[in-house]
Amino acid sequence: MVQKYKVEGFEAFEAKLADIQREFAGKTVLVLFSGSKDPKTHQSWCPDCVTAEPVVQACLDKAPEPEQVVFLYVGVGSREFWKDPQCIFRTHQSTQLKAVPTLIKWGSPQRLEESQCNRPDMVEMLFDD
C-alpha cells in the first residue's frame, strides 16, 4: 500500500514533507496540490482538482511498487487565497506552482499540471525511473 497523508496550507505542507523525508528517505514522494475542499460538500472549488483526485488515487492503487511510494495531498486553500498572485504556493522557491492541480514527483523536475493530472497514462509516468 502507498502511504498517504493529507494536509492543509503551506506550513502544514512544509512540516509534513520534512517528516516524510525523514521517515521515508529514498522513497518516491508524490505531492498533489489541490484547491481545498469545502468542509460541507467535501468538494474542491477547482473542477480540474475534482476530476484529478480519483484518477491520481486510482493510479496510486496500481503503483508498480506501492511500498516505495509516499503520497501527500496538499490543500492550497480557498479560491481567493490561491488566486492571489502572491500566494505562497506560487511564490515559494520549493513549490513555484502555476496551477492547481499540480502533481509533483518531489525532488525531480517531473510535474503534471491541470488536466494532465486527469490522465492515468500521464500519472503513471511518474512511477517510471
Binding site: 525531480s108 523536475p109 517531473q110 510535474r111 503534471l112 494532465q116 490522465r119 497514462d121 500521464m122 509516468m125
Partner: protein
C-alpha cells in the same frame, strides 16, 4: 461553422423551407430523431447488439460468427432476418479489404451525404455501397457490419481494411488533420505505421508530426553511456550534451565578463576580488533545467500519442526491429516505415589513454567537479566553444590544433575568432597532435600528462587536469543491422540518401546528423523531420531546402553566418564574380568597458553578375545568434546589397552596421569604421 445555426439545418431539407416554426433547439432535436431513425432501422437490434458481447468482440470476423448468428435468429423482429451463412459477411469483408476507403451508406441518410461531401471536397476516392438500394441484402450487410465492426449505423467507414467509424469520426479526423494520414498509411499488418529510431530534435519532431497526421508511431531512444559513465535522458544531443548546456555555460562565461565590465560603468563589487565561478553549482542548475526539458518531451510524446520506448533498436528485416531495454529484455516491433534519427557521438583519437583518461562534450556538461586546467583537442566549433567558456569560467585553457580552425567555415572569420580567444588568454598549440596520455595523479580532477608532436616533429608535453576531445563526431549507424537490411552507408558511416531523405531501402528514411553531406544542426534536423513526416503521411512534395542555413558559433566573440564562405563563393562563382563588403566595428557597450576596438567585424559576400545579390553573410560580434537569425530571412528571400542599403537602422545597435557597408575588399581601403 462561424455562425450559430440549427445543428442540422444544412442536412434537413424540409425544415429549411421555412415551414417549421419550432424553436431551433427543438427543431434540432426532432431532426436528430428523424435522422437516427433513418440510420438505425431497428432500435431493438441496436439494443441487442449492445448487450451481445459476442458480436462486439467479433471484430476480426473469426469463427464465433455462427454463435452470434444463432442469437440473431431468435431476435423478435422481422427486420432481423438471419444473415445467410458467411456469404454476406465474406462479401462485406471482401469490399473492406478491396478498397482503401470503403463506405457503407444509405441514400436517405444526411450523415452519409455529409461524408460524401467531405470526401469529395478532400478529393478522397471512396467506394460507396448504398444499403437501402439492396433490399434484404442491405439489411443483411448491415448485420454483418455490426458483427465485423461493432457499429450498425451508417455511414460506416473502413480505411485500409480497418474499421474507422462514422460521420463524426471522419469529420473530427479531418479537422485534426489525421484523415488524410490515416488513408495514406496504406494496407498493412505492421504494429506501427512509422517507427522513429532516435529521440533527438529531429526524431521527436518527426514522430509527433506523423502521429498528429493520423499515423500510429513509436520512437526509440537509448543512450549508451560514455566511457566515463555519463548518460542522459530523452531529447538527444542538443538538449542534453549540446546546444542547450553549451549556450548556458557560454552565458555563465559572458556574465563573468559583464561583472568585470560593470565596474567600468560605475558598479562597485563588494570586496575587490574578481568574480569566481562555482562550477558544481552551475552544473547543477543547468542539469536541473535539462531534467525539466527531458520530462517535458516525455509528456509531449504521451500527449501526442507517440509510444516512447527506452530501448536500443536493431534491424531484423526492413520492417522489423528488435528492441533491447536496460535489463536486456528483447522485444520485436514491426512498422511500415522507419525514420533513422540516431544522431552522432564524439570521436576519440586512437592513442593510448584517450578513452580511459579523456572526456568529451558528452561528459563536460554534467561534470560534477571543476575540470581545472584543461586541454581541448581539436579546432572544431565544439572545441573552440568549450575552450571559450572554460576560459570565461576562469580556467587555464589550451586548444591543440592539428591544422586549421573551424574547417568548413569562412577562414578569415575563423582566424579572427582564434585571435580574439588568444587575446582573452586561451593558449593555442598549433600545429600539433597528441599521441599518448598518462595519468599522473588520481583525483577529481586528477592530473594527466599529454604527449604530442608538432608538425615539424618537435615534442610537446604538458600536464593538464582535464583533456577534452572535440575532434569530430561519428554517426550512430553501426550495430543496428542497417547494412544487413540494405541501407547503404558512406565510408564515414553516414547514411546515403536521396533529396527526399530516403535511404537505399524504400521504406527507411533518415534525418539529422546521420545524413551524408548535410550540416549537423538541430534546427535543420527539425526542419527535415517535419517535412519528412508530412511527405510520409500526406504525400507532400515539399523538400528540405539546404541553401542559406544560418548558424552561429558561440565562441567568446560570437560568429554568425548565412550562406557561403568567401572561399566557397570564390570556388563557385570565380574571384571576378565576387565583391566583398566589410567593416570593423566597436560595439557601444564595449567602449566604456575598454574592450578591443578591432575585434568585431562584418562581411557581405556579393555577386556583381546578379546585381550584387548577397550570397554570404558574416557577423563577428556580440549577440551573433540573434542578429544572424534576423538577417537569415533576407538571405532566404534573395536580398541584394541594395536591399541592405535601403533599410533604416535601429540606433544604437550592432546589427545596424550592415546598412552602411560601403568599403569593398577590392578597394584596399581599411575597413575600420569611422565613428557614429
Amino acid at each position: 461553422m462561424n455562425r450559430r445555426e440549427p445543428l442540422f439545418k444544412q442536412l434537413a431539407g424540409p425544415a429549411e423551407q421555412g415551414t417549421c416554426h419550432l424553436p431551433p433547439l427543438i427543431q434540432d432535436i426532432i431532426i436528430l430523431v428523424i435522422i437516427i431513425s433513418i440510420c438505425v432501422q431497428t432500435l431493438p437490434l441496436l439494443v441487442l447488439a449492445i448487450f451481445n458481447p459476442g458480436s462486439a468482440q467479433d471484430l476480426d470476423g473469426s469463427s464465433s460468427s455462427s454463435s452470434s448468428l444463432k442469437r440473431n435468429q431468435v431476435a423478435p423482429s422481422e427486420a432481423m432476418a438471419p444473415v445467410e451463412g458467411t456469404g454476406v459477411k465474406a462479401k462485406v469483408e471482401g469490399l473492406i479489404k478491396g478498397h482503401t476507403v470503403m463506405v457503407f451508406s444509405k441514400t436517405t441518410c444526411p450523415f452519409c451525404d455529409q461524408i460524401k461531401d467531405l470526401f469529395k471536397q478532400r478529393e478522397i476516392q471512396a467506394e460507396y455501397l448504398e444499403l437501402d438500394t439492396l433490399g434484404q441484402e442491405g439489411t443483411d450487410i448491415q448485420e454483418a457490419l455490426l458483427e465485423i465492426s461493432g457499429q450498425k449505423t451508417v455511414p460506416n467507414v473502413f480505411i485500409n481494411g480497418k474499421h474507422f467509424g462514422g460521420c463524426s469520426d471522419a469529420l473530427s479526423a479531418d479537422s485534426s488533420g489525421q484523415l488524410k494520414g490515416r488513408i495514406r498509411a496504406g494496407f498493412h499488418d505492421y504494429q506501427f505505421d512509422t517507427i522513429v529510431i532516435g529521440g533527438g530534435s529531429g526524431g521527436l519532431v518527426a514522430s509527433k508530426e506523423c502521429s498528429r497526421l493520423g499515423q500510429k508511431v513509436a520512437v526509440f531512444d537509448f543512450v549508451q553511456p560514455t566511457p566515463l559513465g555519463s548518460t542522459w535522458g530523452l531529447g538527444g544531443t542538443c538538449v542534453n550534451v549540446g546546444c542547450i548546456p553549451k549556450k548556458l555555460m557560454h552565458q555563465a562565461a559572458l556574465l563573468g565578463g559583464n561583472v568585470q565590465d560593470a565596474q567600468m560603468f560605475g558598479w562597485s563589487l563588494s570586496g575587490d576580488s574578481k568574480p569566481s565561478l562555482d562550477w558544481p553549482k552551475m552544473v547543477e542548475a543547468i542539469q536541473s533545467h535539462i531534467g525539466s526539458l527531458n520530462w517535458g518531451y516525455k509528456v509531449a510524446l504521451r500527449d501526442k500519442k507517440v509510444k516512447y520506448l527506452n530501448e536500443y533498436a536493431r534491424f531484423v528485416d526492413a520492417h522489423t526491429i528488435k528492441g533491447v531495454n536496460k535489463k536486456g529484455k528483447e522485444t520485436e516491433y514491426t512498422a511500415q516505415n522507419f525514420v533513422l534519427a540516431m544522431g552522432g557521438r564524439p570521436k576519440y583519437p586512437d592513442i593510448p589513454g584517450a578513452k580511459e583518461l579523456g572526456i568529451t562534450s558528452d561528459d563536460l556538461f554534467s561534470l560534477p567537479y571543476n575540470p581545472g586546467k584543461t586541454l581541448c583537442v581539436g579546432a572544431s566549433y565544439i572545441s573552440l566553444e568549450c575552450a571559450g567558456f572554460l576560459k570565461g569560467a576562469g580556467l587555464d585553457t589550451t586548444v591543440m590544433v592539428r591544422s586549421i580552425l573551424l574547417r568548413g567555415f569562412d577562414q578569415q572569420m575563423a582566424n579572427k575568432i582564434g585571435d580574439y580567444m588568444e587575446e582573452e588568454g586561451v593558449n593555442f598549440i598549433r600545429e600539433c597532435v597528441p599521441y599518448k596520455m598518462e595519468r599522473v595523479e588520481e583525483g577529481q580532477p586528477g592530473k594527466i600528462k599529454v604527449y604530442a608532436k608538432y608538425n615539424d616533429g618537435t615534442e610537446f608535453t604538458d600536464v593538464f587536469n582535464t583533456v577534452l576531445f572535440a575532434i569530430g563526431r561519428d554517426p550512430c549507424t553501426s550495430g543496428l543491422g542497417l547494412e544487413e537490411v540494405g541501407v547503404k552507408l558512406a565510408k564515414n558511416g553516414k547514411i546515403i540518401h536521396d533529396e527526399a531523405e530516403r535511404t537505399s531501402v524504400s521504406n527507411i528514411y533518415a534525418i539529422g546528423d546521420v545524413l551524408q553531406d548535410k550540416a549537423e544542426l538541430t534546427p535543420l534536423a527539425i526542419k527535415q523531420g517535419m517535412l519528412l513526416a508530412r511527405r510520409i503521411t500526406l504525400g507532400d512534395k515539399l523538400l528540405t531546402h539546404y541553401e542559406n542555413i544560418p548558424t552561429t558559433v558561440f565562441t567568446p566573440l560570437e560568429y554568425g553566418c548565412v550562406g557561403l564562405s568567401e572561399e566557397d563563393a570564390e570556388a563557385k562563382y570565380g574571384r571576378d564574380d565576387i565583391e566583398v563588403f566589410h567593416k570593423n566595428f566597436w560595439p557601444l557597450e564595449w567602449t566604456l568597458a575598454k574592450r578591443s576596438e578591432a575585434a568585431c567585424y562584418l562581411k557581405l559576400v556579393c555577386r556583381p553578375s546578379e546585381d550584387m545579390k548577397v550570397v554570404g553573410f558574416h557577423y563577428l560580434g556580440p549577440n551573433a545568434g540573434e542578429i544572424t537569425q534576423g538577417y537569415a530571412g533576407m538571405m532566404v528571400m534573395g536580398a541584394k546589397k541594395a536591399d541592405f542599403d535601403r533599410m533604416v537602422g535601429i540606433h544604437p545597435t550592432n546589427a545596424e552596421w550592415f546598412i552602411s557597408m560601403d568599403i569593398t575588399k577590392s578597394s584596399g581601403v581599411s575597413p575600420t569604421a569611422a565613428g557614429c
